[in-house]
Symmetry: C2
Subunit: 294 residues, 2 copies
């Protein structure tokens, strides 16, 4: 891609920790960038570097060729895309990409509405956390038409290292749900194994060292395990956001009549932690369930 004035104009809505990094890569690559965030303060850094701050999603939409949303909850996505000041009403033949982790059903509904209005749409949630966003190494799991995916790819490559199209609209969100479902019970296993080791009087670091290279090993044990052992529950990923994802996954599974008892249990334990005030700790704080009792 050459540096030229003909680079697609990008709009970015939702400038949380991840959104700011992701939008920053797009700006750094030379795209004209318009940004919007509910609390405008979070747009300042990007505006300082050359982005154009907008007062509404509609203003972003009116002057962007590609518009990305990275907001909080499915209800936020719905509002930004479908609301009266929203993208679908105000964009002009744009490519709309939702990178929020959200509901597969909403993704299908948004894609249909977007296409009816002459836009292309993609659901493209990510995994890799704040570090992946900062280093442009996110995994990006996309759902939508091949044409929308091909059009989005040059922009997605500015943010991610492992980018795949998994199927039609909603498939990206479904894949992200599959990812979160695996993580939920895995984290439960990691916390239970380490709680057992501690209760048995073992040196938990030595146990991690010993079992991390074998059949128990993986990202959660080998990366989150040492944080648990140190008592470091700072958020890489907030429990309250994980709970949102697990809620969507369970709702979808219910609709498919697929009982997922491990996921159901993990959500229950996380809900209890959130009710105790730990919603803004990291997912590895599940360990505290086993230390302080249920």
């Amino acid at each position: 891609m050459t540096e030229s004035a003909s680079k697609p104009r990008v709009g970015f809505i939702g400038l949380g920790i991840m959104g700011q990094s992701m939008a920053g890569h797009i700006l750094a690559a030379g795209h004209p960038l318009r940004v919007y965030n509910r609390s405008p303060a979070k747009a300042r850094g990007l505006i300082y570097k050359g982005a154009i701050g907008c007062a509404t999603p509609a203003e972003v939409a009116a002057s962007s060729d590609v518009i990305i949303t990275m907001v909080g909850y499915p209800s936020d996505v719905e509002q930004v895309w479908l609301g009266p000041e929203g993208l679908i009403a105000h964009a002009r033949q744009a490519l709309l990409i939702d990178m929020t982790t959200s509901s597969p059903e909403l993704a299908r509904r948004l894609a249909a509405a977007a296409e009816q209005a002459g836009h292309m749409a993609l659901d493209a949630p990510v995994s890799g956390g704040d570090v992946g966003a900062r280093e442009a190494k996110l995994s990006i799991m996309a759902g939508g038409s091949q044409a929308a995916f091909d059009a989005a790819l040059p922009i997605l490559r500015l943010m991610g290292a492992n980018i795949a199209r998994l199927g039609q609209a909603g498939a990206g969100q479904h894949t992200k749900m599959s990812n979160q479902i695996v993580i939920a019970s895995t984290m439960m296993g990691v916390c239970e194994g380490l709680a057992y080791a501690r209760a048995a009087g073992l040196d938990a670091s030595a146990v991690l060292q010993c079992i991390g290279g074998g059949a128990a090993g993986g990202f959660q044990l080998n990366v989150m395990g040492p944080r648990i052992v140190k008592g470091d529950f700072a958020p890489g990923f907030f429990i309250e956001h994980f709970l949102k994802d697990l809620g969507i996954a369970l709702e979808q599974a219910d609709q498919m009549k697929l009982p997922l008892p491990g996921l159901t249990l993990a959500r229950q334990l996380y809900t209890e932690l959130a009710e105790k005030g730990l919603a803004r700790q990291g997912t590895q704080a599940l360990f505290q369930h086993y230390v302080h009792g249920a």
Copy 2:
């Protein structure tokens, strides 16, 4: 270590798939080897290669400096060590190593009895399965005195690549329990994530490819996941043996008054599978719980 007639004489009791490989490495390293197995046919291969077949554990014990047990259940270990034809009664100042996955409490009891009779003892269960045993790359997690561990190390190195002493008698078994606890819920997460992907109409191989490199990734997802997707439920590790381990872990956790709801749930699901006749399938067959219904 030089090849000489003064190499410690080793006895090996329990020649299942793993035991045969492990004993074979010891024989190949030039140790005089005595073997015993309840069904004598399984000793033939080793005897053909130069091992001496024995008719009882007592006969093994009487002429060995180091005696290893790798049998089925804690009751088998107890019988072989403490029975009238057992190791403790018949060995002569030997080093006794139990590599069976067994109860930490039994390990402590065996160590006390062995030491009282003038022997050294070690609990040293392994992880790594048939492949790890064949390639001498087992993880070996040991509990016992430093002296017993130091004495055992040259022999353990013939079988394993990652060998650690985690504490006094029972610590090896506790560490193995910690390992199995992590795996139990992790496997539940892997099976639920893949069952969800399939129910959502996704290409499960593409999903594995996409999520396996991120925060969901690990041995169970990346090695067992592809087998699940292919419908390959052949045993790397039998469900019935895993159930034994999970039972020991839960019993220990109960005694520590440590509730482990994930482990409890995983054991329940595996028990249901065993009752349906799947006890001799591999642990990844847990996936069938989600396909055929509970």
